[in-house]
Amino acid sequence: MNTEQIEEVLRRAPAPQPPEGLREQLLASAPRRGGRESAATLETGLGAWLRRWWPVLLPGAACAAMTLVLVTQQLEISDLRASVQGLTPKPDPTQALPAAVSTGSEAAQNSAQAAETAEIARLKEQVGKLKEQLSGLLVLQAENKRLLAETRRNAANSLSSEETAALADAKARAELIRCINNLKQLGLAARIWASDHNKLTPPAVTDMAQEMSTPLVLHCPADTTHPEAKTWDSFTADNCSYEYLAPGAGFNEPDRIEFRCPIHGSMTLCDGSVQSGFAKLHPDWIIEKDGKLYYNKTALPAK
């Protein structure tokens, strides 16, 4: 049987008949009553709304209740303070006046003024000392910041040339691996598209957008000339790092080169495999026939 015959037989699969009484059971267990009462049974009313939102409503109600209690307590406290202040005894001017008159000596007044003057002078002196300390603190803070920045600069410059080279190498390898992964995904997407379109690859990469999870797979991580497009809405041909070399190719050309990364020289073949970097390392392994590029396996060194 071919695929179409199998599909036809599958579509004509017999449907088992439901047992007697199932429909009545379903009707019996369906929401009863009509109109508004039925709506409540279908959980569209207030009950359903409460059931859905009670995890939020419960903490919210608890917070509101606690806030209400706190506000009430604060009001009571302020009332009590006001009443306590009202109960504090006030100096009686009718008693103070005779005392002043009775002491009334100028010597006492003079000594009080002298004491106040001395206190003011002492406070001014303390203010001056505090101002000096504050200015010292500001200087120390600025120095601290300068030292911190210098320490960071030294730490950044402390990497040796070998360490810097190793870091750059690791970064380049990571980009190469991501590039190969992109090419693998592109090859897979093209094969899925082809399986739905007479086993022919798409005329353009944008035609297989449905088969790709994101347009980022069309961007080589080492590519700085083409900007990345994160959505298909913003995607244009300028966002594609890879060369698409096999539009309309069939499954009968497994060695034909389908995608090529101009930066790393890696390639996807029409059989879905990815060859890493050989376009740069072994350009002689690529041959051209009728304007199409092929991977020349005969040029491979004998094992």
Binding site: M1, V9, A15
Partner: protein, 195 residues
């Protein structure tokens, strides 16, 4: 199909407003398909009837939250599919349908004796579907047996359409290979023996 979906969605809205008649219409419209789907998947009449009741119970509970992002058909099938998955996990059992059951189902269809061999071949094919991996088998059930579109199948299984396409392609290749291995030469339409 589109007109039926529109009607069903109007019924769903009416049922959501509390229209008892719409509830009954929805049951009439979908319970045979849901039962057939669960009967094929679960393998027992009693289990299938029980799962059908659970499915509709969940439908009534979830109907107010039906956002119409997908068709009502794929939405109900999605519920039925997940009811079945819950049942399978809870019972830790899955009795593979025997070929005899499929032969009975195939033989129950109307047809002259001349169709006997075709029925036999069809029964063997249906039994082969049940021997596929679960993901492939479930996709075949929803797409071919239940008649859902690719998009509806993807909505019901909560996967992408490309995944559905890929699974169907793998399933068809597997079935074709199995038929060929069991002595059914490619291109013929008559069965000589069952699988």
């Amino acid at each position: 199909m589109m007109e039926m979906d529109m009607d069903a969605e109007n019924l769903a809205r009416a049922a959501c407003r509390g229209d008892r008649q719409a509830v009954a219409e929805l049951i009439n419209l979908f319970y045979p398909r849901v039962y057939a789907f669960l009967r094929r998947m679960a393998g027992h009449e009693a289990d299938a009837a029980d799962l059908t009741q659970k499915t509709f119970s969940r439908v009534w509970q979830a109907l107010p939250s039906f956002a119409e992002r997908s068709s009502i058909s794929s939405w109900i099938h999605g519920i039925a599919y997940h009811v079945y998955l819950d049942w399978r996990r809870a019972n830790s059992r899955y009795e593979l349908r025997t070929e005899v059951w499929w032969e009975e189902q195939a033989a129950a269809t109307d047809g002259p004796d001349a169709q006997a061999t075709q029925n036999e071949l069809a029964a063997a094919l249906y039994a082969s579907v049940d021997a596929l991996d679960t993901d492939l088998r479930d996709t075949v059930h929803l797409h071919y047996y239940q008649g859902l579109t690719l998009q509806e199948t993807a909505d019901a299984m909560k996967v992408s359409t490309s995944t559905v396409k890929n699974r169907l392609r793998q399933a068809l290749e597997g079935l074709q290979k199995r038929l060929a291995e069991d002595g059914q030469p490619a291109g013929t339409t008559h069965a000589t023996r069952t699988l």
